[in-house]
Amino acid sequence: MLDVRGLTTTFETQEGLLRAIDDVSFHVPEGKTLGIVGESGCGKSVTALSILRLLPDGVGAIEKGSVMLSGKELVTLPEREMRDVRGNDISMIFQEPMTSLNPVYTVGAQIEEAVALHQNVSRKQARARAIEMLRLVGIHSPEENVDAYPHQLSGGMRQRVMIAMALACEPRLLLADEPTTALDVTIQAQILELLQSLQTKLGMSTVLITHDLGVVAEYTHHVVVMYAGRVVESAPVKDLFRAPKHPYTLGLLESLPVHVEGPTPTRRTRLRTIEGIVPDLAKLPPGCRFAERCPLVIDRCRESEPALERLAGDGEDDDIPGMGSRFSRCYRAADVERPSRFAREDRT
C-alpha cells in the first residue's frame, strides 16, 4: 500500500541546511496501522508532511527518497496530480487544528468543501454529509455546530472537526498526526474505534503518530521509533513493548508513570526521564545520535553511527520496517532489557 524508502527532507535555516529526517523507510500494508513514536522534534510530522508534499515552500524540500502509494511514485508526481492524491487518496489529520482550520469559515463550509472535492454532490447533500460526519466524531448538537466558527469550539471539538474533514473523502491512506491528544479518553476510544471500523470497511491504511503509548499499544500493528531524524527501532507492537531493542525505546517506556490502578504510594515522586537533550541537527555527532544520553554507550557508539539492521531470526525478505521483522539501530541491541517489574506476570 504505502512504501517509503530512504526519505530525506531538509530545511533551510539560519544554522544552514538541516536534515529534519534522514533516510526514513517503512511500509504500511493495506488495512493496517503503523504507529510512529519518538522524541518531540524527531521528525514525525515532517515525515507525514513529506509524504503529502506539504513542506513549506522554498524552505523545506525532499532531498532524496521514494514514496510509493499503491505502486505510484509521489515524490516526482506533478503538483496538479498530487492535488488529486490529496483530495482523494490520502488525508491528513494535522497536529494543530488551528493551523489547518480556516478561522473565517464555518466548520460546516470546510467539511463540505472536502466532501465536494471528492464526490459529485449537491450543496444540500454535502451539508447533510457534513452534519453526519460531525455526529460520527461525537460533536454535540451537530445541526448547530455545523454553523459554528472554529474559535467557538473547544480544543477537542476542533480536533474532531479535523478528523471529520479527513474522513469525509474516505481516503485510502490516513496520516493521523496526534489525532486524539486534545480528547478525553472516552471520546478518544470512540474516535479510534471509528478509525478501526473504517479500516475494515474501506481497507484504509493508517499512519498513526502519537506520544500516547497506551494508544500505540491498543491501536497499532507495527511501530516505528524515531530519534533525531532517524528510525532507530521498528517492531510489531507486542514485541516492542515486551522487549524493546533500542535504549531510547526502553527509556520512553520507562518514563511512564508506573502505577496502573488503585491507590498510589508513588504519587508525586519524580518520574524517570531520559537525561539530556537531543543533539542539535546542525551539529550532529559522528556516531550514534543517542550516544550522549545512552546508559549502554561504548566507545564504538561515538565513533560511527550504527546502521538500522534487521535482527536475526526474522523474515528474510523484509528489507524495510513495517512488514513484520524487527529492526534496531544499535550496536548493543542484544543487551537492551526491560526490567522485570514490567514483566506481564507481575500484573493482575
Binding site: F11, T13, Q14, V37, E39, S40, G41, C42, S45, P56, Q95, P97, M98, T99, I139, H140, S141, E144, A148, Q152, S154, G155, E178, T181, A182, L183, D184, V185, T186, I187, Q188, A189, Q190, H211, G214, V215, A217, E218, Y219, V237, K238, F241, G251, L252, L253, S255, P257, H259, V260, E261, G262, P263, R267, R268, R270, L271, T273, I274, I277, R344
Partner: protein
C-alpha cells in the same frame, strides 16, 4: 435555576492556618453562558452553558487536577479563573478578594501572579517574535531583569529548564515542532515566577520522556516556590501522579471532587468510572474491558432535564430524569463530593 446574587455569597474566612493550607483561589456559582447565534438555527434567547454553577477551590501550593469530557468547559473555567474571560455571573475569590468585578486596569497587578499555559501552543505564540523575544517580553513587562546580559541569561536558563537548547532562542515559533513550541509557552509562563498557573493540557503534545521532565519541573516548582496549579489534562495517569485533589467535569458542571487517592480508588460518579475505565493501557498484551459510553453526546445548549448524564448513565434511576442531583458529600466529612442520585458506593 436560582440566580445567586454576588452580595449574598460570603467571603471565605481567613483562618490563621499555615500558609500552605490557605485557599488561594475559589469560585462561587461561577458560570459562563454563550448566546447561541450566527447560524440558520439561531434564536437569540438560547444559551450555551459552557460553565454552569461551579464551585472549586485551589489552596496555596496545591495542585487541583481537572478532567472531563472534551467540550465540557475545562478551558473556559481555567480562563475565567484568570479573568481572561468575562464571567456571566458568580464570584472568583483570589487571595481573599473577589476579582470577578474588577476591570482590566485593576487586574494588572494580579497578572504577574497568575499565568496560563495554553492548550494550543501554535495560536498562543506570536509568529513574528523570536523565542527570545517571547520569553523576554514577559520578563520586561514585569521588569524582572535588566535588559541585556541579565535578561539573556534568564531566558537561557528558562529554556534549559524546559529542555530546549538556548542556542535556539533566535528562532521563530514555526521553526519548532509542536512539542517544542509547547515548551516555549511553558518557559514564558515560568518567566514571571507566578503563584498560580492554569496548565491547560500542558503536556499532551509532548513525548513521554519530556512529559516526565515537565511533570518533574512542575513538582519542583511547587516544592521550591509553593506554586499552585489547576492542572487540566486528559491523561489520567499524569493527573493521578501530580494532583493533590481532582475535580471531574461533565457538561459545564463539576460532578465529582475528592482527594486523588479517594477519586482513583473509589470513584462514585458513573461518568468518572467510565472515564477511568477508558484509559488506554500501555501494554498490548493486556486484555481490556472497556465501558464505552453509549448514546449521543448531550448538548450544553439544551441539556437533558434532571441529571445531565442520565441519558448515557448505566445506573440511572427514575429520579435522575426529573431533578438535578445536589453536589454533596456522601459520607459527611470525607471531602469526597459527588453530584449523583445513585452513586457507586463501596460498603
Amino acid at each position: 435555576m436560582t440566580e445567586p446574587t454576588r452580595a449574598a455569597a460570603p467571603t471565605p474566612a481567613q483562618k490563621p492556618e499555615d500558609d500552605k493550607r490557605r485557599t488561594l483561589v475559589a469560585t462561587e456559582h461561577l458560570s459562563k453562558y454563550y448566546p447561541v447565534g450566527g447560524g440558520l438555527f439561531s434564536r437569540s434567547d438560547r444559551l450555551l452553558r459552557a460553565v454552569d454553577d461551579v464551585n472549586i477551590r485551589v489552596r496555596r501550593g496545591e495542585t487541583l487536577g481537572l478532567v472531563g469530557e472534551s467540550g465540557c468547559g475545562k478551558s473556559t473555567l481555567g480562563r475565567l479563573l484568570l479573568r481572561l474571560l468575562e464571567p456571566t455571573y458568580g464570584r472568583i475569590v483570589y487571595d481573599g478578594k473577589d476579582i470577578a468585578p474588577l476591570g482590566q486596569a485593576q487586574l494588572r497587578p494580579l497578572r504577574r501572579k497568575m499565568q496560563i499555559i495554553f492548550q494550543d501552543p501554535y495560536s498562543s505564540l506570536n509568529p513574528r517574535m523570536t523565542v527570545r523575544e517571547i520569553v523576554a517580553e514577559a520578563i520586561r513587562i514585569h521588569s524582572l531583569a535588566a535588559r541585556g546580559t541579565e535578561e539573556e541569561g534568564m531566558v537561557s536558563d528558562l529554556l534549559k529548564k524546559v529542555g530546549l537548547r538556548p542556542e535556539h532562542m533566535n528562532r521563530y515559533p514555526h521553526e519548532f515542532s509542536g512539542g517544542q513550541r509547547q515548551r516555549v509557552g511553558i518557559a514564558r509562563a515560568l518567566a514571571v515566577q507566578p503563584e498560580f498557573i492554569v496548565c491547560d493540557e500542558p503536556i499532551s503534545a509532548l513525548d513521554v520522556s519530556i512529559q516526565a521532565q515537565i511533570v518533574n519541573l512542575l513538582l519542583d516548582l511547587q516544592d521550591e516556590l509553593g506554586v499552585a496549579f489547576l492542572f487540566i489534562s486528559h491523561d489520567l495517569k499524569v493527573v493521578q501522579h501530580i494532583s493533590h485533589r481532582v475535580a471531574v467535569m461533565y457538561l459545564g458542571h463539576v460532578v465529582e471532587q475528592a482527594s486523588v487517592e479517594k477519586l482513583y480508588a473509589s470513584p462514585m460518579h458513573p461518568y468518572t468510572r467510565a472515564l477511568l475505565g477508558s484509559s488506554p493501557v500501555p501494554d498490548p498484551e493486556r486484555k481490556r474491558l472497556r465501558v464505552l459510553l453509549e448514546g449521543d453526546v448531550p448538548s450544553p445548549i439544551d441539556p437533558p432535564p434532571g441529571c445531565s448524564f442520565h441519558p448515557r448513565c448505566p445506573r440511572a434511576i427514575s429520579q435522575c430524569k426529573k431533578e438535578a442531583p445536589p453536589f454533596a458529600e456522601v459520607h459527611l466529612g470525607s471531602g469526597h463530593k459527588v453530584a449523583c442520585w445513585n452513586p457507586h458506593v463501596e460498603e
